[in-house]
């Protein structure tokens, strides 16, 4: 006897529910009480349990569908049972999670580097467009595939919708289309709210559940992979920031005079770190299969905290750009990161990351490396401390502690230590950046 699964009512004034994610799909065995669906109302995401034990089938509501409460959205069938005649032709649920890892390596022609990278990053090689010789998927192809769907042209939208998206800075691949066959209409873009379907941190109420989907899930997976597979060694150093602060002030006076954008701490950090890295190529590398790839470009990623997680936009060739230029770039990247309007190229190609929790008052912390990079620099807060000088005198100086986490397979202790020493010297004498 087929058991109907309906869109449940959980709130007093609730009239509709939105499907967020099916955790089981048509044909799979489910047990009564097992959470098989995540659904959302105005306020919160709700786990929905299977109303019976059997085979799930006839799913008629997909991710994003808004349905009145009480609508039949699936059936639990007995072995060999047919769907009831009343069941509408069930559309197969679309994948709602991050791309699955490759099913069969051997079927897709890819370079070893690409295969390894894809596995690490959770990319389905069969969905990557190959540009290598003989149609092989290359490392760059894998990285490119991390771009939003809009860039690969998979989105069906009307010209008016595209225009509105352009004007509002909306990523079309995130908009759900209400037109025929899911075509995105202008009104869909106009009504789009970034973060819809995700629960914003500020709206979390105690006692609820946050589904691990989208960015949250991606972060979880990548950090787990990094933490589990890369042997991290951490080195902390303490620096006197007096000259750094003065240098920044000098730059800002210049900037104000010229009417240019102000130079942020982030910009200074990016420039300084990139110049030091130039002398320490092992730090600017990636381990792939059995090779250490030394990157020619020094592309510094800047970790930016946003409402729903973390994103790392990249300043390319930072060592080749002047501070003013880096300031303009970082200001723009951080702004767009917070507006959630970054696009693929903004977050690709990083070779080293800086993460700064100084503004939050964190004294010192150990960051987890952002694969496939070899290191990450965690910047702590700058606070006035009492220090003992060379000659034994006591002074109050602005002190900051930074911690380098490095991939011990690539970076030996001595290599890391030399890098740290160089960093410290440069922080304390910023003119060394351009020496």
């Amino acid at each position: 006897m087929a058991i109907e699964m309906i869109m449940p009512k959980v709130d007093m004034d609730q009239e509709t529910g939105t499907v967020v994610e099916w955790l089981k799909t048509n044909g799979q065995q489910v047990t009564e009480g097992e959470t098989i669906l995540v659904m959302e109302t105005d306020k919160i995401a709700i786990d929905v349990e299977a109303p019976g034990t059997g085979i799930l089938n006839g799913i008629s509501a997909n991710q994003g569908d808004v349905l009145p409460i009480g609508t039949v959205i699936a059936y639990i069938l007995e072995e060999g049972e047919e769907l009831p005649a009343a069941a509408a032709a069930p559309p197969a649920p679309e994948p709602t999670t991050a791309p699955e890892p490759i099913a069969a390596d051997e079927e897709v022609s890819a370079t070893p580097v690409a295969k390894k990278m894809a596995k690490t990053l959770g990319v389905d090689l069969s969905r990557v467009t190959p540009t290598g010789k003989g149609g092989k998927v290359t490392k760059n192809d894998v990285q490119s595939s991390l771009a939003p769907a809009a860039l690969s042209g998979e989105v069906v939208a009307t010209p008016a919708a595209r225009r509105t998206a352009r004007l509002k800075g909306v990523d079309l691949s995130r908009v759900r289309g209400s037109g025929p066959k899911g075509r995105i209409q202008a009104s869909d873009v106009e009504n789009f709210q970034p973060g819809a379907g995700m629960v914003a941190a500020s709206h979390i109420q105690s006692g609820g559940t946050i589904p691990l989907i989208g960015m949250r899930r991606t972060i979880a997976e990548r950090l787990t992979a990094s933490y589990q597979s890369i042997p991290h060694i951490q080195f902390t150093a303490r620096v006197d920031m007096k000259n750094f602060i003065n240098a920044r002030n000098d730059y800002n006076e210049l900037a104000i005079e010229r009417g240019d954008e102000k130079v942020s701490v982030t910009a200074m950090l990016v420039k300084l770190v990139s110049m030091v890295i130039a002398d320490h190529p092992m730090i600017n590398s990636s381990l792939v299969e059995n090779s250490i790839i030394l990157h020619e470009d020094i592309n510094i990623g800047v970790a930016v905290a946003i409402e729903k997680g973390l994103i790392v936009p990249v300043v390319k060739n930072a060592n080749q750009k002047g501070i003013s230029k880096i300031a303009v770039e970082t200001n723009d990247l951080v702004k767009r990161a917070r507006e959630e309007t970054l696009v693929g190229p903004d977050v690709r190609g990083g070779t080293f990351t800086i993460t700064n929790l100084g503004p939050f008052g964190v004294e010192q912390f150990n960051a987890i490396i952002n694969p496939p990079e070899a290191g990450i620099l965690a910047i702590g807060a700058t606070t006035n401390e009492v220090v003992a000088l060379e000659d034994g005198a006591i002074a109050v100086r602005p002190i900051m502690r930074f911690t380098l986490s490095a991939d011990h397979r690539i970076v030996d202790g001595a290599v890391a230590a030399r890098f740290i020493a160089d960093l410290k010297t440069t922080f304390e004498n910023p003119i060394l950046m351009n020496y």
């Binding site: 009307t158 010209p159 008016a160 919708a161 595209r162 225009r163 209400s178 037109g179 025929p180 209409q185 202008a186 009104s187």
Partner: protein, 328 residues
């Protein structure tokens, strides 16, 4: 203001212009004592005499060529081909000669003639007396093509066409002859190449020609009750086309339905769709450009079949509703 019929408006335009300009004369079949197949020139023989109302035997090619020749030498003839279906017989003189003489001779001459012709179906006249070929003539550089839809428009446009120094194909839908409207008594010109918004709206643009303008307006009245506000745009002149007005309207509504009586394949709707798709308006389209037009069939005799062969008000209502609701 007094109301007169579309037919009376045509007669008035010709009469007033003939009184004003002695170079204007009529030539056609049965336009004299018979008063014209549709009675358009009724009374004009008495007024102007045989010298200026030239009745001919059945000689479409000959009479059209005569109009071309007279225009070539400085007269302003108005030739009438009784049914647009018979312009096929006249097309040598219209397409090869009238349209091309100016260009061919490097600008030495011009052909200031008007060829008026009743077109369209709905009178039970069937295959050989019901066609709409406006698109054939739109296709010819050197011709101008005008298709007025109201008594007010037809008078102003006919006066302008007579005064235009180029050959103008002036198409009158038979079923419009008896429609009434306010028409000023004095002479006035409506410029060729200017469209008219017959009804302003914001949800959807219907571009219609000929009698489809009236049908579209009726459809709009029905649909406003469902909250669908339709803008009806009447190009009035098909060549040269008022692209600017069309683009403006489509940008405003983002949805366009083209309605014409002539057969869909190779019809004017294709030209309009192309113009819109190539224009600035493309970026504002929120749905595909739709065309509702005549079926792929000669016009049949049976009344129901005849009706079914061309768009009717209900067809327009359905299509417009689908489009407005983005079901297409």
């Amino acid at each position: 203001m007094r109301e007169i019929t579309y037919l009376e408006a045509v007669r008035e335009a010709m009469t007033q212009e003939m009184e004003r300009d002695s170079r204007v004369f009529l030539i056609g079949e049965d336009i004299g004592v018979y008063g014209g197949a549709f009675q358009v020139s009724y009374g004009m023989l008495e007024k102007f005499g045989h010298e200026r109302i030239l009745d001919t035997p059945i000689t479409e090619l000959g009479l059209t060529g005569a109009a071309v020749g007279a225009a070539l030498i400085g007269m302003r003839p108005i030739a009438e081909i009784m049914f647009m279906d018979f312009t096929t017989l006249a097309s040598e003189q219209l397409v090869n000669q009238a349209a091309k003489l100016r260009f061919m001779f490097g600008g030495q001459s011009s052909v200031p003639m008007v060829l008026r012709t009743p077109a369209g179906s709905g009178t039970g006249a069937a295959e050989h007396h019901s066609q709409s070929f406006e698109n054939w003539f739109v296709h010819v550089p050197g011709l101008k093509v005008v298709m007025p839809t109201t008594p007010y428009d037809v008078k102003g446009l006919l006066i302008s066409s007579i005064r235009d120094n180029n050959p103008v194909v002036f198409i009158e839908h038979k079923l419009l002859y008896k429609t009434k409207g306010e028409v000023p008594e004095e002479m006035y010109e409506i410029p060729l190449g200017k469209a008219d918004i017959k009804r302003e709206g914001k949800d959807l643009t219907i571009i219609a020609t000929g009698i489809m303008v009236q049908k579209s307006l009726a459809a709009a009245e029905k649909l406003i009750k469902e909250g669908i506000d339709i803008e009806v745009l009447d190009p009035r002149t098909l060549r040269p086309l008022d692209t600017e007005s069309i683009v403006k309207s489509v940008k405003k509504t983002g949805k366009v339905l083209i309605v014409h009586e002539a057969v869909k394949t190779g019809g004017f709707g294709g030209e309009l769709a192309g113009v819109i798709a190539e224009s600035e308006a493309f970026g504002y389209l929120d749905a595909p450009i739709l065309r509702l037009a005549g079926r792929e069939v000669p016009i049949p005799y049976n009344r129901d079949l005849e009706k079914a062969a061309v768009p009717q008000v209900e067809d327009i209502v359905q299509k417009a509703r689908e489009l407005a609701n983005l079901k297409v």
